[in-house]
């Protein structure tokens, strides 16, 4: 029965996102979207989560009781249902048969098997990951007991104020905690609800991936292999089983951003661009690293789409010159009411994101161990050379260029962070490092399978 609540929770997101997408589409392009394929449902689901997080972040400004919140949620659910029913009634629909081809039942079957394979173990587990029960789910529990509008602070603020709650990671973003909060309002057995939700989210993301590579010409066996890879990468599966960390969610959103980029490349439209913006906006609401990924994605998009080769060279020269001048002048120190930016020979401070002295630590053994010895990724990262070769060959596709540039910038950022800052300790003790890689892995997998698709479809030289 609790599993049904999980599916219902997923439907809530699909309705929320679906209604918003339909409305936006009519508002901006005058035509309503009529397709109900897996890709649209996936976008609706993930946009629904963006809406939910933004709406509930907004509701935190009002002191609403739990009963009022329940009514508001049910009303929102009904409103979206009405909107979509109205849309369905008014818009000529493309038949389901035309949208689901004969090849699709097999990937769906495999995805269901993969989800059950994980659920087989996860349904037996309590919430065991530390930051999960203490921070992400922990904060949702604090809201449940004390009200959604309660302020949550760290020690110095908490001890000196009257109406705040304590959490040692109060500065972490709210997104995932808000996803945990709603089931707590409705049912006591809420861990299974969120477990079903995460499996549903992942299943939709995987099916969309399979559909995307099918559109670029992948045969069915390649789609099936993609699904097997997605459901048997050991560390990804661990994150699906031991729920409660935001890394897998960040990974899924980066994946969706990449897929939306390709959609917009092949069929440019305003809805895709808005979808892209909403996904980008959610990244920093899920994890602090989200800021980095958001900035890198925006930078990669700007550099590839809005500049020409000459301008890129000027930008590179300007960037290098600025870096040299700043270095010679002792660095940069900017103070704002909400934080500081300090970059000099000794320290790197960027608001709440990072505050660390510069020091080189050789993390290569830990890095190699994480990639190849601990069986986190099976043989996945041996495909990297193929991906890099593919990137060089498909230099004419802007979406591929953006993705490749983002990927390279992310890897450079990752290496810089772990080799030159205090983050190295998380590499040496093998805690956060693999989780950062996890955030980029779904994106890497789809790029790899796109490269494989092009590899087999490319005419072979004799």
């Amino acid at each position: 029965m609790t599993e049904l609540y999980g599916i219902l929770y997923g439907c809530y997101f699909i309705l929320l996102g679906g209604a918003l997408r339909v409305t936006l589409s009519q508002l901006f392009s005058g035509t309503a979207i009529a397709d109900k394929n897996i890709n649209s449902i996936t976008h609706a689901f993930f946009i629904g989560i963006v809406c939910h997080v933004i709406v509930f972040n907004g509701l935190q400004f009002f002191s609403l009781s739990h009963q009022q919140l329940r009514w508001l949620t049910v009303s929102l659910f009904c409103l979206c249902l009405l909107r979509l029913t109205w849309h369905h009634w008014k818009t000529p629909q493309v038949g389901l048969k035309q949208q689901f081809n004969k090849a699709q039942p097999l990937p769906i079957f495999l995805v269901v098997c993969g989800s059950l394979f994980i659920y087989w173990n996860s349904s037996l587990l309590p919430n065991i990951a530390w930051d999960s029960w203490a921070v992400w789910e922990g904060r949702a529990e604090q809201w449940l007991y004390h009200g959604l509008s309660s302020h949550i602070e760290t020690w110095p603020e908490w001890i000196n104020s009257e109406n705040t709650l304590f959490n040692y990671s109060a500065h972490y973003p709210d997104g995932l905690s808000l996803v945990y909060f709603l089931p707590k309002l409705f049912t006591a057995d809420n861990l299974i609800v969120t477990e079903v939700l995460i499996l549903l989210a992942y299943a939709l993301a995987v099916l969309s991936m399979a559909q995307k590579i099918a559109q670029s010409g992948a045969p069915v066996y390649l789609q099936l292999m993609l699904i097997i890879v997605m459901y048997s990468t050991p560390l990804i599966n661990n994150h699906l089983m031991l729920q409660g960390y935001a890394d897998i969610w960040v990974g899924m959103y980066i994946l969706l951003i990449i897929m939306t980029l390709f959609e917009n490349h092949y069929k440019p439209n305003l809805l895709s661009k808005l979808t892209l913006l909403m996904y980008l906006a959610l990244l920093p609401m899920l994890k602090l690293e989200g800021w980095v990924w958001m900035i890198l994605l925006a930078a990669a998009y700007f550099i590839v789409v809005h500049t020409k080769t000459k301008a890129r060279l000027y930008m590179l020269a300007l960037f290098t010159l600025t870096a040299i001048v700043l270095w010679l002048n002792g660095g940069i120190h900017l103070s704002f009411s909400f934080g500081e930016i300090i970059i000099n020979k000794h320290n790197l401070v960027v608001f709440n994101l990072i505050n660390s002295p510069f020091e080189f630590v050789n993390i290569t053994p830990a890095l190699l161990s994480g990639f190849f010895l601990q069986n986190n990724w099976s043989i996945l990262w041996f495909g990297l050379p193929l991906l890099l070769l593919h990137g060089i060959r498909s230099a004419d596709c802007k979406a591929t260029q953006v993705t490749q540039l983002f990927f390279i910038l992310s890897i450079l950022c990752f290496l810089f962070l772990f080799y030159f800052t205090e983050a190295s300790r998380w590499a040496i003790d093998m805690t956060a490092m693999n989780r950062i890689v996890l955030q980029l892995t779904p994106c890497y997998i789809i790029l790899l399978f796109r490269a494989m698709t092009e590899f087999i479809n490319h005419p072979q030289p004799n």
Binding site: L125, G138, Y145, F166, L222, L235, Q374, S378, T431
Partner: protein, 377 residues
């Protein structure tokens, strides 16, 4: 008809066999250097006994058992592995070998399979401990080390032989395959990596498959069969890596069934203790005329698992967990109730360096697990 695919697959198959089973890491085996541990083990009386040609360890009623290994005057530089033959270890039990070398305490989790071979690298210690001998060595057997509240049946912990040595050459290939299927339990650190660092060893299946992929790629460039074949190589390698993973997943299922009580949200036995302490706090504070809705509860101490779980169980109240050094004298007000547990209980029992912060006369409640301090007037 083109014979290229045939040539490709014959060569790739051969390479696969070589990559999976070739062992470049092992030196010549010298069995005479093996150190038999069964005669050197020292533990509580009647815990280790010999029955039906097997050594049995009685784990009933205990959580941790230390088996001392008397290693005086033994040259350990000739041995590479800890080998346990016909090893039977329940899934909710973990065994680790601990030793001190060059002033450092090192440990290695023992692989859990029928012939357990755990590479130790005793002759390659940490940089500052080169050529230093073993000072102390012991085996630690722990029941439910992290996960699960129910102990289940842990009766059958047994083995026929345990020694420090080198695995026999003719058995090596079979044993290498067996190590890939070693049980990797689910634990807290599983969120950070699939296997812990001390369990990743040079027999890594992933590295071997990586070598095969590389060689097959070169073979592809050489023979030039249809491109699909090189993808099939990748998928085949994936499926080979998938087999131990899927097997381990089913073992983890058994682990969870054996150790997790479906009717509780408690994580393990330490969490059960934390839950009891949280209940004591809940029931005691109203008796001390403290209105819990008006009080700030300050749990004092490090962010260790035990205290964090107490904090978690007290989330319905306005609770904080903070290190004692962060507490200032001005925080000692009537609205703040301080909760001390574990080693900090001594503050409530005797005067010590923290006495200037907490005054014993304000101790409102004290039992062997909890101390409550409130500076009321």
């Amino acid at each position: 008809m083109s014979y290229k695919p045939l040539y490709f697959w014959i060569a790739a198959g051969l390479l696969l066999f070589i990559c999976l089973f070739y062992s470049p890491f092992k030196q010549k085996v010298e069995q005479e250097h093996a150190i038999k541990l069964t005669s050197l083990l020292d533990t509580e009386p009647n815990r280790l006994y010999f029955l039906d040609s097997k050594f049995h360890l009685d784990l009933s009623g205990i959580k941790r058992l230390r088996l001392e290994v008397n290693l005086t005057e033994v040259d350990i530089t000739q041995v590479h592995d800890l080998i346990i033959e016909n090893f039977t270890q329940p899934l909710q039990v973990a065994t680790t070998l601990h030793w001190q070398q060059g002033g450092k305490t090192l440990h290695k989790t023992i692989n859990n399979n029928h012939t357990s071979i755990t590479p130790l690298n005793l002759d390659q210690p940490t940089d500052d401990a080169i050529n230093s001998g073993i000072e102390v060595m012991y085996l630690l057997v722990e029941v439910n080390p992290e996960l699960g509240t129910s102990v289940g049946d842990v009766a059958d912990y047994s083995f026929t032989n345990m020694y420090l040595g080198n695995q026999q050459a003719f058995k090596h290939q079979i044993n290498t395959v067996a190590q890939w299927f070693s049980f990797q339990p689910l634990k807290f650190a599983s969120i950070n990596s699939y296997t812990s660092l001390d369990q990743s060893n040079s027999n890594s299946l992933i590295l071997r498959l990586g070598c095969w992929l590389l060689l097959s790629g070169l073979l592809f460039l050489l023979i030039k069969p249809a491109r699909t074949h090189v993808l099939i190589v990748f998928f085949l390698a994936w499926v080979i890596a998938l087999l131990p993973y899927a097997y381990n997943h089913s073992k983890q299922h058994q682990q969870l069934i054996n150790s997790i009580d479906p009717d509780t949200v408690l994580i393990n036995q330490i969490d059960q203790q934390a839950w009891t302490v949280a209940n004591t706090i809940e029931s005691t504070l109203p008796l001390l005329n403290h209105d819990l809705s008006q009080q700030k509860l300050i749990l004092v101490g490090d962010h260790d698992f035990y205290r964090l779980r107490i904090y978690k169980h007290l989330l319905k109240y306005n609770t904080a967990l903070i290190n004692i050094h962060a507490i200032a004298p001005e925080n000692l007000t009537a609205n703040n109730t301080f909760l001390l547990t574990g080693s900090l209980l001594s503050i409530c029992q005797e005067s010590n360096s923290f006495a200037s912060l907490f005054d014993i006369k304000y101790v409102a409640y004290l039992d062997p697990t909890l101390c409550i301090i409130n500076h009321h007037d």
